[in-house]
Subunit: 221 residues, 2 copies
DNA sequence: AATTTATCTTAAGAAATATTTAAGAAAACC
DNA sequence: GGTTTTCTTAAATATTTCTTAAGATAAATT
């Protein structure tokens, strides 16, 4: 799978290059917006990662420029954290997904695969994990092929788990993700959601409790 | 893990120094930009924390200067300003992550570990020591490749040992680490934890008792 | 060898943390 | 505006983990 990585930071770029190479991507790494544009024109990539903070040209301009030229490969944008307002901009400008730095390369790879699947005709952007499968575009969830109906928060919780299976998700991180409020004190909302999700999943032990830390999804992939 | 802390504020610097020392970082603390640059040149650190508000040189200049010299260790920037525009600047200038003051030392430590992990090609954060291995991100522990389930204190104890094998850990230091309370008198809680950990590890002699002092982990690494 | 001191082991109660329920509040839907 | 669904809160229950305490064992001291 051919991937174009546009990233000026040496450390981050190297980490992504190594990480994705290990995960069956063929990575071409350029460090400037100019190089990105000329490479995009060659149209030989399946997917691209674009960092917004480029030294020469603004990342958003790069995005607009290549979309204008008819390049329609999926592009995942990297941004500094908490630029949520900008994100709407970016999606308008033609970005397909985004991630905030710093991020986990496993999740990056999962999202890239989802983007590729969505584009490849057969359309469904499903991510599987043991008996569980989710479709990130339609937000459907399945257990052993049978669809289960999840609420919004339940789905988001499950997507978090499926995107980084076997990873321990600290409860405060999950809470931050689930609640838009900046600060919530003393609430067991997360526990209740986990409880309801477990019930809907049927197999209770799929979501493992790491006492004092958080939860993780156990599945052999 | 060698860490360079560049921070002029006495209170904050001290808090970080103590907090990170307890979390297995070896902290070198300098208070000026000039000292920072000369220390960076020695290139013997794994990671650095850089406060922007320095008395002599602007932190951003320090960052640019050391990056220009080819120092490529991960640098986490501390900033009072939480304006994303500045942050993008900083990431461009070569920062790998940032935190706004005030912050939580636990999160600081977690982010530093994340940076270190990312740098090493996202190789999973496992630390090995003889037959023992721990994964600091998932908090899993293994003996001869088989996972063992540890409680929080047991895991923390083992991590302490594994991170500095063959080092003799005085009991008071361990107690301070295990209990969040400042002062605990007359308790054999530590002994009980060591006992339970030994039992779970199987091989009892791995944790050696240094009578009158403390414990240490025996392993040929 | 007897005594002292430190550590080990065990078990039980206390404390901390997680699960489950149910009900009211909020949000979404029609 | 009323209905339905989803989310949060709170209290009761269950579970795990931590600490305490007391006797057993081992090492050092006399």
């Amino acid at each position: 799978m051919q991937l174009l990585l546009v990233e000026d930071n040496q450390t981050l770029g190297q980490a992504v290059e190594i990480g994705l190479s290990q995960r069956q991507f063929t990575v071409t790494w350029v460090r400037t917006g100019a190089a990105a544009i000329s490479n995009f024109n060659r149209q030989e990539y399946d997917v691209a990662i674009l960092d917004l903070g480029l030294p020469d040209i603004d990342g958003e301009r790069v995005l607009q420029s290549i979309r204008k030229k008819g390049v329609d490969i999926p592009i995942l944008v990297l941004t500094a954290r908490d630029q949520t307002s900008d994100i709407i901009h970016l999606l308008d400008a033609g970005a397909d997904d985004f991630m905030t730095k710093p991020f986990d390369v496993n999740e990056l790879a999962a999202r890239l695969r989802a983007l590729l699947r969505r584009r490849s005709g057969y359309a469904s952007a499903t991510i599987e994990c043991g008996p569980i499968a989710i479709d990130t575009s339609s937000r459907e969830a399945f257990v052993n092929g049978h669809e289960i109906t999840l609420s919004r928060k339940e789905y988001e919780l499950l997507q978090l788990f499926v995107m980084q299976p076997m990873k321990v998700h600290p409860r405060d991180k999950i809470e931050a993700l689930l609640s838009s409020d900046t600060h919530v004190v003393e609430s067991n909302a997360l526990e209740v959601h986990v409880h309801n999700l477990r019930k809907k999943l049927g197999q209770r032990e799929l979501i493992e409790t790491i006492r004092g830390v958080g939860y993780r999804l156990r599945c052999k992939n």
